[in-house]
């Protein structure tokens, strides 16, 4: 149990997926204009990454390892993730229209999000079991949500600031991300 908590905290705060591993930068910069949409995106990412880490680790453990085909994991994982996102979208549409209307817009944005593939590959690299993989995926996704929501909060306030025209838009967002990365590096003593 203690191990699992350490994995989750490590993935969410210490090795934050955006701020220290630079994965999933596109949605982090693109969908962080408003707190509400950022939170929606975060929820969709939590949903998809958790399911995909479960699925990819099951495939790795029960199909690729016994057939000695682990070298194919990049190809298999990217296809599985692309199919999974499609599938999740279809299931949500049928089963839970309210959840679909909340998350549906964000799902297409996740298909080739490098964070999803990154987590699946990291699980293999660290030779995590199935439970550990799911916890790692969940932790990573929560870390993503925390950072994107904080970023959106800062950007909402930034809107009214007087910023020089060259720095307006993307540059100031990147500077903010850098400052957040400094703040998050304070967590490195946690483990």
């Amino acid at each position: 149990m203690k191990e699992l908590i350490l994995i989750a905290i490590g993935a969410a705060l210490v090795n934050n997926v955006v701020l220290s591993q630079f994965l999933g930068l596109c949605p982090f910069l693109g969908v962080s204009k408003k707190v509400k949409t950022a939170a929606g995106m975060g929820m969709a990412v939590i949903f998809v990454i958790t399911i995909s880490s479960l699925l990819t680790s099951v495939i790795e453990q029960y199909i690729l390892v016994p057939t000695k085909m682990t070298y194919l994991n990049t190809i298999v994982f990217i296809l599985v993730i692309a199919a999974l996102v499609q599938f999740v979208e279809m299931v949500l549409k049928k089963m839970s229209p309210s959840l679909y209307s909340a998350l549906g817009v964000y799902l297409p944005l996740i298909t080739t999000n490098c964070a999803v593939l990154g987590v699946a590959l990291l699980n293999v690299q660290n030779s995590y079991g199935i439970v550990e993989s799911v916890i790692n995926g969940l932790g990573t996704a929560i870390g993503f949500t925390i950072s994107i929501v904080i970023m959106a909060g800062i950007r909402e306030r930034n809107e009214y600031n007087d910023i020089s025209p060259a720095l307006k838009g993307t540059p100031i967002v990147l500077v903010t991300a850098g400052l957040m990365a400094i703040a998050f590096s304070g967590f490195s003593g946690l483990l």
């Binding site: 630079f22 190809i75 080739t112 593939l117 500077v175």
Partner: protein, 232 residues
């Protein structure tokens, strides 16, 4: 041959992926902590890009339009796997320092972007040169950033000490520094664009990726719909 040199020029200068198009930002930020890593990542991407452009351009009339995105992804992923093995065998130290970012070349916007925008529409030879040009442009961009960050962050160039340790700005070499360096780069670009009377630019990556994903998504839906119809 003229067309080929035009492609090289286009990739290196006119549509440089790092400085002009702002594509593939994840590896740009992640691996440029030193010149060696930046250069290695750039070269690896170039090999994958050239090979995938070559195959995709050869198969452009064979791959059905509806399943082209999944087909491209499989081709790119295969080459990434091959390159990863070659690196593991011949350059294990580079492979260790780039780590997870090698398999993540699969989801690099540049590669799918070039496949979609150029290789799937043009003959083989120009496509190969397009891949080489774009790859060299990416390598050039990553090497510049890596050179700068290594020099300022740890005072070395290719592990040779240039600046004494006590005068280095350590943060530039660490994760936050990557964001700062990129911010300065975009700001400079905006400054030039504004003084030329153009609009400052947004990160292209966002628009491109989501557009390509949306397309991918729609194609996927059509594909699934069609196969269902066939089954029925």
């Amino acid at each position: 041959m003229n067309r080929c040199t035009e492609r090289l020029y286009n990739g290196l200068i006119k549509e440089n992926p790092t400085f002009v198009m702002m594509l593939g930002m994840c590896p740009t930020l992640a691996v440029t902590s030193s010149l060696q890593n930046g250069f290695g990542m750039g070269m690896t991407t170039m090999v994958v890009l050239t090979a995938s452009n070559f195959i995709i351009s050869m198969l452009r009339k064979v791959i059905p339009d509806k399943v082209r995105m999944p087909a491209f992804i499989v081709i790119v992923a295969s080459f990434v796997t091959i390159v990863q093995f070659l690196l593991e065998a011949y350059l294990p130290s580079l492979n260790a320092s780039l780590g997870i970012y090698i398999p993540l070349i699969v989801v690099n916007c540049i590669i799918l972007g070039r496949a979609e925008a150029y290789a799937s529409k043009n003959p083989v030879l120009p496509s190969i040169f397009d891949g080489i040009g774009m790859g060299l442009g990416f390598t050039f961009g990553l090497s510049c950033l890596g050179f700068f960050r290594e020099l300022v962050g740890s005072g070395t160039v290719l592990s040779h000490r240039i600046i004494p340790d006590e005068y280095c700005i350590k943060i530039i070499g660490l994760a936050p520094g990557a964001f700062f360096v990129l911010a300065v780069l975009v700001a400079l670009q905006n400054k030039i664009r504004i003084s030329n009377g153009k609009k400052p630019k947004e990160l292209k990556c966002i628009a491109d990726c989501s557009a390509c994903q949306k397309q991918c998504e729609e194609r996927g839906k059509e594909f699934i719909g069609n196969s269902k119809k066939e089954e029925a």
